[in-house]
């Protein structure tokens, strides 16, 4: 059995099948984990910033990166479906979105909160139910996602 471990980088997503393991490290970024247990396929997206569209409007630039929630998540869903995953079997889980710079939760600088809000909105729009596992706080986190059974391991980094 190939229990290969794949690291998902900042602003990237990876789609994989059982028994692979996906891992990532988070600060204010949010990991969105999608799992279709029936077909044992899923993906992990490392969301770096909330909205590419917002960035594009503000900076008048063209988005080529996938690091934004509103670009990354639809692409990951599409990639899972292309690999014969089924959206009606999806379970989604959120991890991360820490405030690493001691900003108040309501601060405009709180990227972690903005990322979480964006991801919640996008998943709701896509009608994907999700559960928030370990979110917010002030610590970074290491995440392992086991495609074999959908287990998610979160280690808080002090």
């Amino acid at each position: 059995m190939n229990q290969e471990v794949v690291t998902v980088g900042i602003g990237e997503y990876t789609v994989a099948q059982s028994p692979m393991i996906l891992r990532t490290i988070l600060g204010s970024c949010v990991a969105v984990i999608l799992y279709d247990k029936i077909n044992r396929i899923g993906g992990l997206a490392h969301v770096y910033l909330p909205s590419g569209k917002e960035y594009e409007t503000n900076r008048e630039s063209t988005i080529t990166s996938h690091k934004f929630a509103d670009i990354l998540l639809p692409l990951m869903v599409e990639a899972i479906l292309k690999e014969n995953g089924n959206k009606r079997f999806f379970s989604a889980y959120l991890v991360g979105g820490a405030s690493l710079f001691n900003t108040k939760p309501s601060s405009f600088m709180d990227i972690g909160k903005k990322n979480l809000d964006a991801v919640r909105r996008i998943l709701n729009d896509m009608r994907i139910n999700f559960l928030e596992l370990e979110i917010g706080g002030n610590n970074g986190r290491k995440v392992h996602f086991y495609l074999k059974n959908g287990d998610i391991e979160v280690i808080n980094l002090k």
């Binding site: 279709d36 247990k37 379970s91 139910n129 559960l131 959908g150 287990d151 391991e153």
Partner: protein
């Protein structure tokens, strides 16, 4: 307070169910990661209630439910599964399970289901 056996191949899901039920005064008497282990634990621990996953490698939930009902046709079982297939839901209901919860679920949904089943 009820004695509960949790059956799921994912430790994450077992922990979520365990935390919520323990917070609300229930006692977790066992955790099984497949149907075969569930039957053995059911005989040993005689729980008041079982939460049962469907898709598991060794023996699936439908087979385990069937076997448990052979041991006790009044067993109280709540299915907690990622499965959205109507056919499987109907099969579990036909077998006599009390409720069917789709993952991921809100704590309140689980607690209401447990309350109703008891």
């Amino acid at each position: 307070m009820a004695k509960v056996l949790i059956v799921d191949d994912s430790k994450l899901i077992r922990n979520i169910i365990k935390d919520e039920l323990e917070k609300n005064g229930h006692q977790i008497v066992g955790e099984a990661q497949d149907g075969r282990m569930a039957i053995s634990m059911y005989k040993e621990k005689t729980p008041d209630l079982i939460t049962m996953d469907i898709t598991m490698d060794e023996m699936d939930g439908i087979e385990a439910i069937t076997e448990i009902f052979k041991l006790n046709n009044k067993a109280k079982i709540i299915v907690v599964s990622a499965l959205g297939q109507d056919e499987i839901i109907n099969k579990a209901i036909d077998l006599g399970v009390m409720d069917f919860i789709i993952k991921p679920f809100e704590a309140e949904r689980l607690l209401n289901s447990v309350k109703k089943a008891l």
